[in-house]
Structure formats: C-alpha cells, structure tokens
Amino acid sequence: MLKVMIFHPAISRKKEIAQIVSEAEAELRPKVERIRWELGQDWTGDWAIFLRVVLSDAVVRKRNWPKIASEVEARILEKLPTDELGVIPYTRFRSQAETIEMPEKAWS
C-alpha cells in the first residue's frame, strides 16, 4: 500500500509559532487566560491554524465582550504571519468558566 506523507511548510515552523502565540498570550493578559493552537486542515483540505482562546470571566461578564474578543483576535493575527505560513487562521473563544464546566484537553 502506498503511504502518502502529508507535510506542510508551517509544520517545520512550529517552534516559531509557539513563541509568537506565547508572546501574544502574555501581552493579552489579563483579558486572555490562555491560548491553545494546532495546525491541521479545514473541511476543504486547506491548511489552517486552529486557535483556541480562553477569555477571562471578567471580560465575558462585560457587555462589550465580543468587541474585546475581536480586538484579541486582531492582535494575535497581527503577530502571526499566517499568509507567509500558508495557513488560514480559525479562532474560537470560550470563557474560563466554560472550560471548567466543559473540560476538554484541547482547551486546557
């Protein structure tokens, strides 16, 4: 059986991505509790970076939290060279309380 190895250039830059995300996470505290990410393919097979951002409960209690979430997303994507990496960024947000209520490894 022929085995096809799927390799994308972004995979070789995981360390760099980790560094950038970690810097963004530090910069965005205390609004952001943590950021998790992984490389993979979206539903059409395009390479993507899936970002999972845990917002602090204090942020989510505010009326304008979606605006804050947009700003957080924009800041992360300013730092992350997604075009150069050849990946589509997909960001999802959960509150800290939600990650406790629905514990999932990908978000922890």
């Binding site: 059409t44 947009s70 589509i88 999802r92 959960r94 509150s95 629905m102 999932e104």
Partner: protein, 148 residues
C-alpha cells in the same frame, strides 16, 4: 425584512436561548445560521445585479460553497471592510461545517455568540462598501470561473 436579515436575527435568538443551560442543538443551529445569513446576503447581492428578476433564483442556486470559500480566501483587498467580510465568510463556513456535521465538537454560548457577532460585523461592513466597484468585483469572483 430580507431572508438574510431574518437569518441573522434567528442566529442571535438561538445563541441566547436557554439562559442557564444552552442546548447544543440551539448553539449549533446558531452558528450554522450565522453562516447562512452571510451566504444569502452575498448571493442576494450578487444576483440582484441580474436584470431579469425571474432568473435570479436560478442563478442563486449556482453558487457553490467551496468555490465561494476559495474566492474569499484569495481576497486580498485594499478595502479593509471587504477583506473583513471575506475572512468572516471563510471562518463562518468552517464553523458551519463543524456545527452541522461534527458531533464530537461541543459548542459553548461564548463560541456561538462570537460567531453571531462575526456575521453581524460582516453585515455592517458589507453595508459600508456594497456599492463600491471592488465589492462588485468580489461578488463576481464568488461564482465566476477561475481562469488562473
């Protein structure tokens, strides 16, 4: 109200139902509906340029989700609002796919509300630029054959 506006309202309604324990079915439908709101907005705008009204529904059916995603993903516009609409479309389509077909992925209210907000922002941004030539080029790219 237009169909796409109704869908946008419905997505917000679904995302905020069940104040204490949101049902997965409502959250998933909220995310999916947020995508379809934006999809139908763009399709209706594109077919609105077709002169014969009776043919518009036929033309609307020719829009392909995957092709539209490709066009949006390739969009690198100098008009920031247009760029934002294209990006929102790509993201919402991916999440619509997850929400509709991936039962292993749970959704939270914050996640669903965020996607409803993303669609609302895209509607607002589209409203600002819809009459510009770049916006019309973009609409054409959503269904025109890719000859690159």
């Amino acid at each position: 109200m237009a169909y796409h506006d109704d869908l946008l309202d419905q997505s917000g309604h679904l995302a905020t139902r069940d104040p204490r324990r949101p049902k997965q079915a409502n959250l998933r439908r909220a995310v999916s509906t947020a995508y379809y709101a934006l999809f139908h907005l763009l399709v209706s705008q594109a077919v609105g340029y077709w002169r014969l009204k009776r043919q518009r529904s036929v033309l609307a059916r020719s829009f392909d989700h995957r092709k539209m995603k490709g066009a949006c993903n390739s969009c690198r516009s100098q008009v920031p609002e247009l760029d934002a609409v294209a990006k929102a479309f790509v993201i919402l389509q991916q999440y619509r796919h997850l929400a509709d077909y991936d039962n292993s992925t749970a959704w939270t209210r914050v996640e669903a509300m965020e996607e409803v907000t993303r669609a609302r922002s895209a509607f607002a941004q589209w409203e600002q630029i819809k009459t510009r030539e770049e916006a019309q080029d973009f609409l054409l790219s959503l269904f025109a054959a890719d000859r690159r």
